[in-house]
């Protein structure tokens, strides 16, 4: 079976359980088992070749640019691990089927489990370290799901997050390490990397790579000081613990160390980091395990300890140690998985895992007792079980290894660890199963059904068989795996009796000492509990909590919603960077002389500066600020005029007026004054920054104006071609509607959008309670009577046609003289606004039948259609055309498509301005405002009976109808 398929089967299988759960729990479990089983069979088909020492390789390119390819290979090491993963996986699937209760979503469980299984298989089959990283992180993610499987348990959620955080951190460190490793080796393919031992170990980057990779491995394999997450992951359902935390995931780190052993091991750095870490972990885990009352916690720390043991062996860097490591991986997987399952059975049956509440189960659960006892004895290293064999090998190696020239450190500590290992193993038997039967179990325990104990039983059988017939049963496998680790030919001598060796003495000491320790457990426990010791979870939580609080404080501090500060930072930053950019370059001397100036510029300058300064000084009085803005607009417009920019002058002044109207409309609803809020110091700071920015900008434009273009400006082209190519003599207009008509197209779009936004906003605001507020709003000024004075109405009526005439004039001449669609549009809009202002919103809008939306739309469409029209001529969008028409008796006149485009501009401007102002005006609409007459006071309406009017005058007031109704308005003369 292709390695691709083996790696893919679990992932494919992951789809089914969740889908099949409707078909029942058995279907779900079977489908999971099927996928696992098929992959297992596929793996076994490769067994003969692998045991012969061959390597199976497949690969396809995935991301060749990076060197990340889907390359897989299967050698002894990969085969060993894949066998464990798939084999124990099958057992776990069976066990979990019976372990999980009806309330648990089993489909989800198997899906997660198979995802995890696939990721693990992927790790051990990868022939590319980047691919391995992909699977590596996938194990973190899928184990996160599995640990948190019981979502309602806070411990589950926290344990899952902790595991994810720690192993995720390691994974990320490993990414760095792997990238360095690949960088040194020149490839990310493992079989290539493994050939570069010399290059790697002599590289300067060896140590960083090693450390980063080891962080990944240590976190995954729960090595000190990253061991603390593993016990908390025990919140997961027991099948998960048995699978992830004994047999597979935690071994991924070991796998990685074994995988890269040929290139990383053998150096002092490797030895001191790996072996020392392993040793510490082994001892520490063993000691803690003894004092854990939770069965799973005990097993978890024992796992930590055993992982340390294997790590230490790998750290020794010798062939023999590697063999021991490989062998212990197999043995630990068998007995520890079995132990976890028995712990699960106890928990399942007795409804507690607390050793203090257990004891005497031997009588109630004989089958479980037997299984647990055999497995625990193996763990303790009691002959003839398999644990004994590999532990002997470990002690043997430990006794030969020097640590900083000291021959006793490792051996002594290893024995010490083994001693505790014996103690907690025996405690597992003695305090759970032995002793008198108790009356206070939370539930009444009894042996579970066969389905549940079948899996551990099978494993225990293996424990015994491997112990007895190791050479036959697992010899070739160990040889193949250890050969793959060491890249040498290996023949392991697996046997029970090695003669009287130091290891035997150490082992004996450990067993005896362990028994004594167990006997002294109660007093020791009191001492242990009295000892102050760091609680890893507390520290971890404190760190995470502190980091979280820090980030929250920082985030809140930085993003507190203060636009003022955001702007301040932006302005300061820009100024600093800009000054830096200027200072770090060179400027040539001015190439132009400064021009003199006459009276008009100086007057304008005085007006502008004084008005600007006064705006700053008086800005809290908003209305006055608006008046001052009017001065600035006027002066800027005058200056444009003076400086040969008549089009700009016209545009500026027209825009100015509309802007003022808009602001006044808005100010009606806003507070009329700005409170003084910033302290003087803040104002000083703001002023300083503003002045610096102003000086920068002013200095920049001053420098620019006194230098010529470095190369001739493209403007020469426009001067050259605006008439002969664009058909107009007003170059600015030709640029706007022709050379750069596309900009103008964008510009009118902006204007149209602005109006749409304003309209939408008005609608949004008026659809809320603000509407009621506005309707009930009392004006905050003393409103004068006669809101639509007749003089104004008459004048605007008179002005409107003339203004439109002016607009037409400005429009038509624009191509040749200052003007154009935009200014014309503004003037036309202002002509209409005049009506709104004079005669009232209601009256004027009743007379407006074209929807402003439509006018905007048609404007943009006309402009676009003009542009598209060029396509039919076979020329690009917006290509203009013009010609001169001669009618009899008349002078020739020009027709240009640019005028059509300008018409689009005109329409868009009119529509946009009107829609915006009309929307804004709707805020002020009040039901009491009559729109029947434009002129409030119009004696012409009284003419029919002027005589009676004279009399009624004395009775009341000639005014608009009151909002309160006609009854309270004593005026009847108005009716006509």
């Amino acid at each position: 079976m292709s390695l691709f398929l083996i790696a893919a089967l679990p992932f494919l299988g992951a789809l089914f359980p969740a889908l099949l759960i409707r078909a029942g729990r058995n279907a779900s479990a079977s489908s999971a088992a099927m996928a696992s089983g098929l992959a297992f069979i596929g793996l076994m088909l490769h067994a003969p070749a692998i045991l012969r020492g061959e390597v199976v390789q497949v690969g396809i390119d995935w991301l060749p640019a990076l060197g990340l390819n889907a390359n897989f290979f299967l050698d002894g090491l990969g085969f060993l691990f894949a066998t464990l993963i798939l084999g124990i996986g099958l057992l776990i699937i069976l066990y979990a089927r019976f372990y999980l209760s009806r309330q648990d979503p089993m489909g989800q469980f198997y899906t997660y489990l198979l995802l995890f299984q696939g990721a693990m298989v992927g790790i051990v089959l990868s022939d590319n370290i980047l691919l391995l990283l992909v699977f590596w992180e996938l194990t973190s993610l899928s184990s996160f799901l599995l640990i948190g499987y019981w979502k309602h348990l806070p411990e589950g959620r926290q344990g899952a997050r902790m595991a994810l955080t720690v192993t995720g951190m390691g994974g990320l460190a490993m990414i760095g390490g792997m990238l360095i490793l690949g960088h040194i080796a020149g490839s990310y393919d493992i079989h290539v990397i493994l050939e570069h031992r010399e290059a790697i170990q002599s590289s300067d980057l060896y140590l960083p790579a090693l450390v980063l990779i080891l962080i990944g491995a240590f976190t995954k394999s729960a090595q000190f000081p990253f061991h603390f997450w593993l016990p908390h992951a025990m919140a997961a359902p027991t099948p998960v613990s048995a699978y992830l935390h004994s047999a597979t995931m935690v071994k991924a780190g070991l796998f990685l160390m074994a995988r890269l052993w040929p290139v990383l091991a053998g150096t002092p750095e490797w030895f001191y980091i790996v072996a020392t870490t392993g040793l510490i972990t082994m001892v520490l885990g063993a000691v803690i395990a003894l004092f854990k009352d939770d069965l799973k916690a005990l097993l978890a720390f024992s796992t930590v300890s055993h992982l340390g043991l294997i790590t230490m062996l790998l750290g020794f860097g010798t062939k023999a140690a590697a063999i021991g490591a490989v062998f212990h991986i197999i043995n630990h997987a068998t007995f520890k998985a079995a132990l976890f399952m028995t712990a699960g059975i106890v928990d399942h049956e007795a409804h507690t895992r607390d050793i203090k509440r257990l004891g005497g189960l031997r009588h109630l659960m004989p089958v479980t007792f037997v299984i647990a006892t055999v497995a625990a004895l193996s763990m303790a290293g009691i002959p003839p079980l398999n644990g004994f064999l590999s532990k002997e090998m470990m002690l043997e190696q430990a006794s030969h290894t020097y640590w900083l020239q000291n021959p006793y450190v490792i051996g002594g500590l290893a024995t010490f660890g083994a001693l505790f290992s014996v103690a907690y193993s025996l405690r597992y038997i003695a305090h759970v199963f032995l002793g008198p039967k108790r009356a206070d179990y939370p539930a009444k325990p009894h042996d579970p059904s066969f389905g549940m104990w079948a899996s551990p039983a099978f494993l225990v059988v293996l424990v015994v068989l491997i112990g007895l017939f190791s050479a036959v049963l697992v010899g070739p496998l160990v040889d193949a795996a250890a050969g793959a680790v060491t890249h040498e030919h290996v023949h392991a001598h697996l046997k029970l009796w090695h003669g009287v060796t130091p290891a035997l003495y150490m082992s004996a000491a450990a067993v005896i000492g362990g028994a004594i320790l167990l006997a002294l457990h109660a007093p020791l426990e009191r001492v242990w509990n009295a000892l102050p010791r760091p609680e890893a979870k507390v520290i971890f939580d404190a760190i995470v909590g502190a980091v979280t609080r820090l980030t929250q404080a920082l985030t809140a501090r930085l993003h507190d919603g203060s636009l003022t500060r955001y702007a301040l930072i932006m302005v300061s930053f820009t100024a600093i960077i800009g000054i830096y950019a200027y200072v770090s370059g060179t400027t040539g001397a001015p190439t132009r002389v400064m021009q003199g100036f006459g009276i008009l510029p100086i007057i304008s300058w005085i007006c502008l500066t004084v008005a600007t300064a006064c705006i700053v000084l008086f800005h809290r009085q908003r209305f006055i600020a608006l008046i001052l803005i009017g001065i600035i607009g006027l002066v800027v417009s005058l200056s444009f005029n003076y400086l040969s920019a008549p089009d700009l002058a016209l545009t500026q002044i027209s825009v100015e007026v509309v802007t003022i109207i808009l602001m006044l409309l808005a100010l009606n609803f806003l507070p009329k004054e700005t409170p003084r809020e910033s302290p003087a110091l803040i104002r000083l700071r703001d002023a300083a920054i503003s002045i610096v920015s102003g000086v920068c900008v002013g200095g920049l434009i001053y420098a620019l104006m006194l230098r010529d273009f470095a190369a001739p400006s493209i403007s020469g082209f426009f001067v050259e071609n605006s008439y002969k190519g664009g058909g107009g003599t007003n170059m600015v207009n030709v640029i706007l509607v022709d050379f750069r008509g596309f900009d103008t197209f964008g510009e009118i779009t902006v204007l149209g959008i602005a109006a749409l936004v304003i309209y939408a906003l008005t609608e949004a605001v008026l659809s809320t309670r603000v509407r009621a507020y506005l309707l009930n709003r009392k004006p905050d000024i003393d409103q004068a009577g006669d809101s639509h004075p007749g003089l104004m109405v008459v004048v605007t009526r008179m002005m409107m046609p003339i203004a439109l005439m002016v607009a037409a004039y400005i429009f038509f001449r624009g191509h040749n003289l200052p003007g154009g669609g935009f200014i014309a549009g503004l003037i036309a809009a202002i002509a209409v606004i005049m009506q709104y202002m004079a005669s009232g919103f209601g009256w004027a809008s009743e007379r407006q039948h074209l929807p402003y939306h439509g006018i905007i739309g048609s404007g943009v469409l006309v402009a676009a259609a003009t542009g598209i029209g060029a396509w039919f001529n076979g020329v690009p969008f917006l290509t203009s055309d013009f010609g001169y028409v001669q009618l009899p008796g008349l002078e020739p006149f020009e027709l240009a498509t640019a005028a059509l485009f300008d018409l689009g501009v005109f329409l868009a401007v009119v529509g946009a301005v009107m829609l915006a102002l009309e929307s804004l005006s709707r805020f002020a609409w009040q039901p009491g405002i009559s729109s029947e007459h434009a002129i409030d006071i119009n004696p012409a309406r009284d003419i029919p009976d002027a005589s009676t009017a004279e009399i009624e005058v004395e009775q009341g007031y000639d005014t608009m109808p009151l909002p309160t109704g006609p009854a309270s308005a004593p005026n009847e003369t108005k009716e006509d």
Partner: protein
């Protein structure tokens, strides 16, 4: 002349930025208006300033100097765009004021950042 223009641009910029740094939306809008004057004059002046040389082609005379028409066209576009922008910002801030009865430009945006997940 250049000095007048440059100092005016600088002053408008400074005043604009100062007002943008105020705490209420209305002065901020005033500030953006002032700033856009500064920008427009700045952009205009990048074509270098000339008196009495409007970019209107004189077809009958030769040797006529014209001011650079391109910055003028750019400024026109910029004026129109900034008008649209001003209109929008005026309206949005009005909407914000009417909804919140508060025209403070700064909002307390830390409410959804506090607290701690157990």
């Amino acid at each position: 002349m250049e000095l007048l223009i440059a100092s005016a641009v600088g002053l408008l910029t400074a005043a604009g930025i100062y007002l943008i740094l105020r705490l209420r939306s209305f002065p901020v809008i005033l500030g953006t208006s002032l700033l856009s004057y500064a920008v427009n004059v700045f952009l205009f002046a990048t074509g270098r300033v000339v008196i009495n040389a409007p970019p209107i082609l004189n077809k009958t005379a030769t040797d006529v100097t014209y001011t650079d028409p391109l910055p003028q066209a750019l400024v026109l576009t910029a004026i129109v765009i900034s008008f649209g922008m001003t209109a929008v910002v005026v309206m949005i801030s009005l909407g914000a004021y009417l909804s919140a009865k508060d025209d403070n430009i700064n909002m307390d945006d830390t409410a959804d950042l506090q607290g701690e997940d157990a």
